[in-house]
Structure formats: structure tokens, C-alpha cells
Subunit: 254 residues, 2 copies
């Protein structure tokens, strides 16, 4: 069977998954579902996701690179895979790529969105996709704090406890707060790379800014201290969505 | 214990319920969850919902009237009930009303929204709240057909098969299509009353119009024939949301 290389763009509802990556036997993961779907369509599959989303995190535009020995063309594969995949996962696009393409190492940047429901009461219709924050949020203060994160910084203070990434400098090109106090609030972050839990830790820290428990101009000092204990808590997984992954020449999805 | 009368405004995710109303022992219903939550807070509860939403149908602003012997005030009740209710249901408001108030018979009108995901591919992040329609929809044709439903008509052709409501004349004050072909589409219907499955049957019929399988100017003849067999299929429950119920003086929620 000929060796083929593809780029996949995926949407998934993360609620029922222990994240993207297979970590322990018996856990249901997006990668595991994809591998199962590919099983009868070829052999010697190698699959790499651009972002290893955590348990409960959603994706509108996760990207994966695939190398597989298969007799099928891209459109046949996409249809067959989507028919096999569970309802929580869909392949939005599947296209041939050059053999050297690696979704993870070739990505130039990612766009994540973190959603908050800032209502006095919990909202059953929003619960699956947002963090519930009861107390009114000062969005101007949050936006000011977020803006200070844009640029090239050492984000060690926002990395997951226990992570041992040697290089924690990343560049954020966008850190925006939108929405309304007492309603739906979104944090959009775009950058060249993200440390484990970085978006959720930034969200948790900005919520503290929004409640006045942390000054809106405190981000530079927080970054400089490089101390995870100085930042806020990790915001819940269900509020986070990987919106898109950027590669040379184009954002995916565009 | 004093007799008290309240108006409740409710939001719920209908996915896990066999509808609003208790129909068979062992079925999980919104009414049943409310009655269970009220159980330790008073006695001789009488509970009436404005709209008997079907299994799987959601609500942003369902209204219920309650009569109960209770020593608690409205705010205490609301807090206690919301603490007891499952995560799929929340009481957005609970306020004292005159003893004669009946959420069902006093309602002057309702607003329902039916959501469609008109994408070539299914969308996991939209699946819980919309009907998936693959083929592109002609929204102008659908809007034209919908407009013809506004006014006072006999809606017998859109009533659930097997319904035996003697009086099937209703007045629609709004029937609008919004959104975009290939994207998210919404049908908003407002009227003084709705027959069983009426919104979902209208939605199913308008989808046929959107696919060119039914003329956009065919609604008057369809209404006139008063034949359920002449209309389209019942669109899936998960696309439907009861947005609000209107009473004299105000819409709820406003």
C-alpha cells in the first residue's frame, strides 16, 4: 500500500474525553478514537496532534498530521472516518500534505478561547461550554491586565504545577477580553505556543483581577517573578476551546 | 403553614429529560425534579407549567405557577430549590403572585426558537442544540414561506398526529428566519399559543422549502387543507428552545 501523508482539521466536544492524547489504557481520548477509526483503512498509522488538549477541553480547529499506508484517497478517507467516529468528533478537512509535515512542530501559532458565564445564577444551557463566575467581573480591569501579556515573555508563572519544560518563553500576539459584565465573557489568546494549562491559568488569574483581588497592572511583576504560586487558580477545562492552529501561509481553519 | 403563590422562570437543558410533564412512573421530567426539590420546603404543592415542552426540548424562559403551604419567603425558596435541583435546571426567578395566577391559562403568548446547523458536516459542538441539515438551505424561500404563517390561521396541518385538540386556530405574530446558508440558521416563532409539535412541524416543513422540495408560496394552501399529511416531518427535539412566555404587562424573561 502506498504511504500517504495528510493534514486533518478536527472539531470535538471534549466533555466525554480524557483529553487528546492516550495516556493510560482504558481512557477514552480523541487520539484513541481517531486511531480506532483509521484501523481498517490502512496500516502503520502515525498520528500527531498540534495541541495536546486536556480532559474536557474542546476544539473547533485542532490539527493533526497523519502518515499511513493506505490505498484510499483523501475524500474517501474523510467520509469513511467521519462515518466511524463518535458524534463528539468530526474531521472537518482531510487533505494531502508533503511527507515532512508535522502538525505539532510545524505549527506557527494557536488561537484559544476561554468562555465565562458571569451570571448571578448558574446557566444550564451554558454549563457545558463555560466557567460559571457569579460575582460581577470588571471587564475593563481584566482587559488591561490581559493586554500586558501580549508580547514575548517568560510565562513560567502560568505553567502547570509539575511541568518541566526547560524553555518557558512564549510570544502572545493577542489577549483580548470581550462580552459583558453579568453575561457571556470571552478571553481570546493567540500566540506562537502555549505551556500546559497556560490559558486556563491566565483565565483563573484574570478572574481574580475582575474581582478586584489582584491589581490590573500586576501582570508584569507576576511574569517577572516566574512563580506558579503567584498566579491564580487553573480555570475549569470546559470553558476552553482550541479555535485554530496556524501554519506557514494560512490559519486553519480560516 | 401559610398558603403562598409564586411565579417561577426556569432555564433547562432538555437533553436528559422525558419532557416537562410527568407521564409515566420512572421517567425523569423537569416537573418531577421541581416537585422533588420542593418536597422538604412545604406541602400541598400544585405546580403548573406554561408550556409542556416535549422530551429533549430546552427552555431559556419556561414559566410555572406554584401554590404551596410554606413558611419560606421567595428568596429563601429560590436559593434552596436551586441548591437541590440538578445542574440541567435552574430557577432564574421566583416571585410572589396573586392567588389566581395560572402560568398556563394566563399566558398571552410564547416565543420559541428552532436552531439548525446547515453545515455539510455534522458539528459536535452544535449537535446538542441544533438540527443538522447537510444540503444548503435557501433562506430567502424559507423566510417567504414563514412570513405567510403570520396572522390568525387554523394550524391543524402542523399539529402532532393523534392530537385531538378541538380548537386549532392560533395567531402567530412573528415567524422569522435568520442566519446564513451553510451556517447557523434560526427560526423564531411568536404567537398566542402553539399546538403540540407545531414549531417542530413548521421547522420540518420549512426545511423542505429550503431544499426546493416545496414551493415558498405554498403555505396558504397547506394551512387551508388542514391535513397533517400535507406538511413536512417533525424536526428533531434538540433544536427547539422555549425562549419566553408573555403575560399581561410584560414578557418573561424580558
Amino acid at each position: 500500500m502506498p504511504v500517504a501523508h495528510f493534514k486533518l482539521v478536527l472539531e470535538y466536544d471534549g466533555a466525554g474525553f480524557a483529553g487528546w492524547q492516550i495516556q493510560r489504557e482504558g481512557q477514552r481520548t480523541v487520539q484513541g478514537e481517531l486511531e480506532a477509526a483509521f484501523a481498517e483503512l490502512g496500516r502503520d498509522l502515525r498520528l500527531m496532534g498540534a495541541g495536546r488538549t486536556d480532559a474536557g477541553v474542546h476544539a473547533e480547529g485542532q490539527v493533526a498530521s497523519v502518515r499511513i499506508d493506505t490505498p484510499h484517497d483523501a475524500e474517501t478517507l474523510r467520509r469513511a472516518l467521519n462515518a466511524k467516529l463518535p458524534r463528539e468528533v468530526v474531521i472537518r478537512r482531510l487533505e494531502p500534505v508533503a511527507s515532512g509535515f508535522d502538525a505539532r512542530s510545524d505549527s506557527l501559532g494557536k488561537h484559544y478561547r476561554y468562555c465565562i458565564w458571569n451570571g448571578r445564577l448558574r446557566s444550564p444551557l451554558r454549563a457545558a461550554r463555560a466557567l460559571h463566575v457569579r460575582e460581577p467581573l470588571d471587564l475593563l480591569a481584566m482587559a488591561q491586565a490581559a493586554k500586558a501579556l501580549v508580547g514575548r515573555h517568560d510565562f513560567a508563572c502560568f505553567q502547570a504545577t509539575g511541568s518541566e519544560v526547560p524553555h518557558t518563553v512564549r510570544t502572545l500576539t493577542r489577549a483580548e477580553i470581550s462580552g459583558e459584565t453579568g453575561g457571556e465573557v470571552a478571553l481570546d489568546l493567540e500566540g506562537d505556543g502555549f505551556l500546559r494549562h497556560m490559558v486556563r491559568n491566565i483565565a483563573g488569574t484574570l478572574v481574580e483581577v475582575g474581582h478586584g483581588r489582584r491589581p490590573p497592572d500586576g501582570m508584569p511583576a507576576l511574569l517577572e517573578a516566574q512563580d506558579r504560586g503567584g498566579a491564580g487558580p487553573t480555570a475549569a477545562a470546559q470553558g476552553l476551546t482550541l479555535v485554530s492552529v496556524r501554519y506557514a501561509g494560512c490559519a486553519v481553519p480560516d
